[in-house]
């Protein structure tokens, strides 16, 4: 699973991600743990690597990190921003 490679552009502003979905010209602002996950997704990180990134960044429990990662990925998938 990774970020869609077509019609999706993004920029980093401080710790935030500003993304443009060019299919419908809609913008998305992602901050906090979402921006950590987005940046790792852009590097083709695997699911376990995403969970580890959250654990390292926020020193949270791995179970909580996995739940947060799954919720974030589900939201991106729902918006059509991921591809296999």
């Amino acid at each position: 699973m990774r970020l869609r490679t077509n019609d999706l552009d993004w920029k980093q502003v401080d710790d935030e991600i500003i993304a443009l979905d060019r299919r419908d010209a809609s913008y998305l602002t992602i901050n906090g743990s979402g921006s950590v996950l987005w940046r790792r997704l852009a590097e083709d990180a695997s699911h376990p690597e995403l969970v580890t990134a959250l654990v390292d960044a926020y020193e949270i429990d791995p179970v909580q990190a996995r739940a947060d990662t799954d919720a974030f990925l589900a939201e991106l998938a729902q918006k059509g921003l991921l591809e296999e």
Binding site: D9, W10, K11, V13, D14, E16, I18, A19, L20, R22, A25, S26, Y27, T29
Partner: protein, 341 residues
């Protein structure tokens, strides 16, 4: 630039010089506080930068013929981080702007602004692609200072390189030509007015052959303004060993402050005279004085008189404060009906 940013009296002054995004980046790198309103500006700049490729691709698909992209994203690409160079519009030069405008309107672009304001303007009414926050301005020729000569579209085409945006078959002025055009455009807007204009010249001139740029400035009859701009750029930005001895009307630059109302009036007159070819200096001075005495588009004579009276009483006030007072109910001028969008 760090020293100038630190000397600047306010965020508003940095905004006036259009170096606020650069200041934000500088403060963050120094571990200093970055105001929340600046983060909002940074978000907006990112949104505009993201909008550029899809808008240019649509334009390229609709308009046949050569398209030259000037300023904005083309200059931003010369900065170490393009996101610190603010812009809101895409300045495009085409052989036949009215035809290109019609084609873009037929394909979903929308016009902005009052038609009367753009009747004699140097570009057609701005266009926007709905939902994307960047406007498009079609020009036949670059905007230039009084008394200087604009290169024709065909002449400019011979001085182009592929656009830094990477959009296929879109071109941009080669660095030397771009630097001279930017200096002239900045002078037309306000002689040595904003630091961003000088930084633009610095970043485009750095990879260019200065002798080529000097020759183009001679050819386009803007040699004097070019020489003053380059001297100022060198002293302020590129070569700290160069003494900075600005003319009285350019002293605000080193302090990153805004011009006061009186300085601005002096700059418009003195700058126009200093920048124009010697043979045209008197004519240019007369034209500037005439323009200063005239009403703005849509302005009544009573509003003009109130504006003049306020300018005199605000002579030593910075321009942003003066302009703010001009547009308050008891400040006077609310009668200009044609404003830029």
């Amino acid at each position: 630039m760090g020293e100038i940013i630190e000397r600047a009296p306010s965020l508003e002054a940095l905004r006036r010089h259009r170096i606020h995004l650069l200041a934000g980046r500088f403060w963050r790198s120094e571990g200093q506080y970055v105001p929340a309103e600046l983060l909002s500006d940074e978000r907006e700049a990112a949104m505009i930068a993201l909008a550029v490729p899809p808008v240019l691709e649509r334009i390229r698909a609709v308009c046949s013929g050569e398209i030259v992209l000037m300023k904005g994203p083309e200059v931003a690409a010369c900065y170490p981080d393009p996101l610190v160079r603010p812009f809101r519009d895409l300045d495009l030069l085409v052989a036949d702007p009215p035809s290109a405008q019609r084609a873009l309107l037929d394909h979903g672009f929308v016009e902005l602004g009052e038609p009367a304001f753009y009747a004699d303007h140097h570009h057609l009414r701005p266009l926007i692609w709905p939902s994307l926050p960047v406007t498009v301005e079609l020009h036949r020729q670059p905007n230039i200072a009084r008394g200087t000569r604009s290169p024709s579209f065909d002449e400019l085409l011979e001085l182009t390189v592929p656009s830094a945006t990477g959009i296929a078959s879109l071109v941009a002025p080669a660095p030397a030509a771009h630097a001279v055009l930017l200096a002239n455009h900045g002078w037309a807007h306000e002689p040595l007015g904003r630091l961003l204009d000088l930084i633009d010249v610095a970043v485009t001139l750095t990879p260019a052959d200065r002798a080529v740029a000097d020759e183009l400035a001679r050819r386009w009859e803007c040699e004097r303004l070019w020489r003053i701009t380059v001297q100022t750029v060198d002293a302020l930005l590129l070569d700290p060993t160069e003494p900075f001895s600005p003319r009285r009307w350019a002293r605000h630059l080193a302090r990153g402050r805004e011009r006061a109302v009186v300085e601005n009036h002096i700059a418009r007159l003195a700058g126009a005279v200093w920048g124009a070819p010697r043979t045209q200096a008197l004519q240019v001075a007369a034209a500037v004085l005439l323009a200063e005495g005239n009403r703005r588009s849509g302005e009544t004579w009573s509003a003009k008189l109130r504006r003049t009276r306020l300018a005199v009483s605000h002579a030593f006030m910075v321009r942003s404060e003066h302009e703010q007072k001009l547009h308050t109910p008891n400040g006077g001028n609310c009668e200009v009906t044609h404003q830029r969008p």
